[in-house]
Subunit: 237 residues, 2 copies
């Protein structure tokens, strides 16, 4: 308990979300927060739930998904340690636009919506951080729109893997392992394709020694080769 708190204190102070805040401010933020463990596979909130809490991920990894009216699922993004999410609770919307569930065992820091709003008002720096984060989120989303609109599947998948490796990669002797369970279906839902196509791509890449693929597991052996697929360096002449 006090153990958990100490963990938070030391880890969180370093995060960009809290940069520039005084010790006292931080103290207040954390005092008002509630820490919650989340077991792998369980949902923190579901699409459509009343948006009454604002979060920061302390540890683990969450997957944010949306389902379309006709039942198609889409992975909107993955959340890593230090990321803030559930922003709609701060902007006064009523319901979460997506579902957040734990890809691995995780720990979140939660504020109630009213508290979050108060804190933002009281500590402008904190609000500014949220604003900056949202701005990044918009740009990220636009980038992915652009990708979906213009790039073909192979490249989108390569990009997705590289992004995941950057966010959640762990160096091993073989290469960079994506340190969370990741099914073909997951990748398909990130890139707007089908699990069949992802499977075929991974098989081909494995054949060529670019990656090592297993059940819910991907290790990138030759990142540079994958980058070449992802980027298409325009005919150097």
């Amino acid at each position: 308990m006090s153990n958990e708190n100490r963990f938070d204190r030391s880890r969180l102070t370093a995060l960009p979300a809290f940069a520039g805040l005084t010790r006292d401010e931080l103290q207040e933020l954390l005092q008002r927060a509630r820490v919650q463990k989340l077991e792998k596979g369980t949902a923190l909130f579901e699409q459509g739930d009343e948006a009454n809490r604002f979060f920061m991920l302390a540890d683990g990894r969450l997957k944010v998904t949306q389902v379309t009216p006709d039942g198609h699922q889409v992975v909107v993004r993955y959340i890593g340690p230090g990321d803030m999410f559930g922003c709609v609770a701060v902007t006064g919307q009523q319901s979460y636009p997506g579902t957040a569930s734990a890809a691995i065992d995780s720990t979140v820091v939660a504020w109630s919506a009213v508290e979050a709003s108060e804190l933002v008002e009281k500590h402008p720096k904190f609000g500014a951080h949220i604003l900056r984060m949202m701005s990044g989120r918009v740009q990220e989303a636009h980038a992915r729109m652009r990708e979906m609109a213009t790039e073909r599947v192979e490249r989108r998948v390569a990009r997705a893997l590289l992004r995941l490796a950057r966010e959640a990669g762990r160096r091993t002797e073989a290469g960079i392992e994506i340190a969370m369970p990741l099914s073909r279906q997951d990748v398909a839902e990130m890139t707007g394709t089908t699990l069949y196509t992802v499977s075929r791509l991974l098989s081909a890449w494995e054949q060529d020694g670019l990656v090592e693929a297993g059940r819910q597991r991907v290790v990138i052996i030759k990142p540079h080769a994958l980058v070449k697929i992802a980027e298409d360096l325009p005919d150097p002449k």
Copy 2:
């Protein structure tokens, strides 16, 4: 000049962007702003330009585009009267992620980046509005990602037209006319397809009397029929 100011005062006070602000606060916001006319076709800022100004559209319509490294152009969104944009100037990024150009003659209200930041800090309500707007922007972008990932072209195009009609539609005797020049290419760049496909779709729809299509001009004759294409009401049984 004073004419222009009066115009602004009366029009702008009603906008959601300024809701809840006192007369004095509004006064200050507007006093610090600079009004700028923008002729159809000209760019207000270009992708990569230093982000040193924050804007609100007073009148007209702007198109925000991005180009991919390999030269593909994408329409990120259209901006209508009352919309705020160029938010990166507030969040302290360096450069605009896209190009904003006038689809028709337009008028913008501009603040310098430093002024905008000051104003946000001084008037939390204003900052909250921006935050809410950003939140909406994220959701909108996610919705379009979802669309691109799961829906087929026909539906995406139908949706895009309906969206445009809602944002920029003008009732005429024939139907709802999209009140700005809109080429097949534009629609293609909004929906991630080609001008060929858009042309074919519009031709087919015109055949069936759903729309009336001309050079850079679209009139929606039977919105409900287009909605049916866009939504795919799941087999009512």
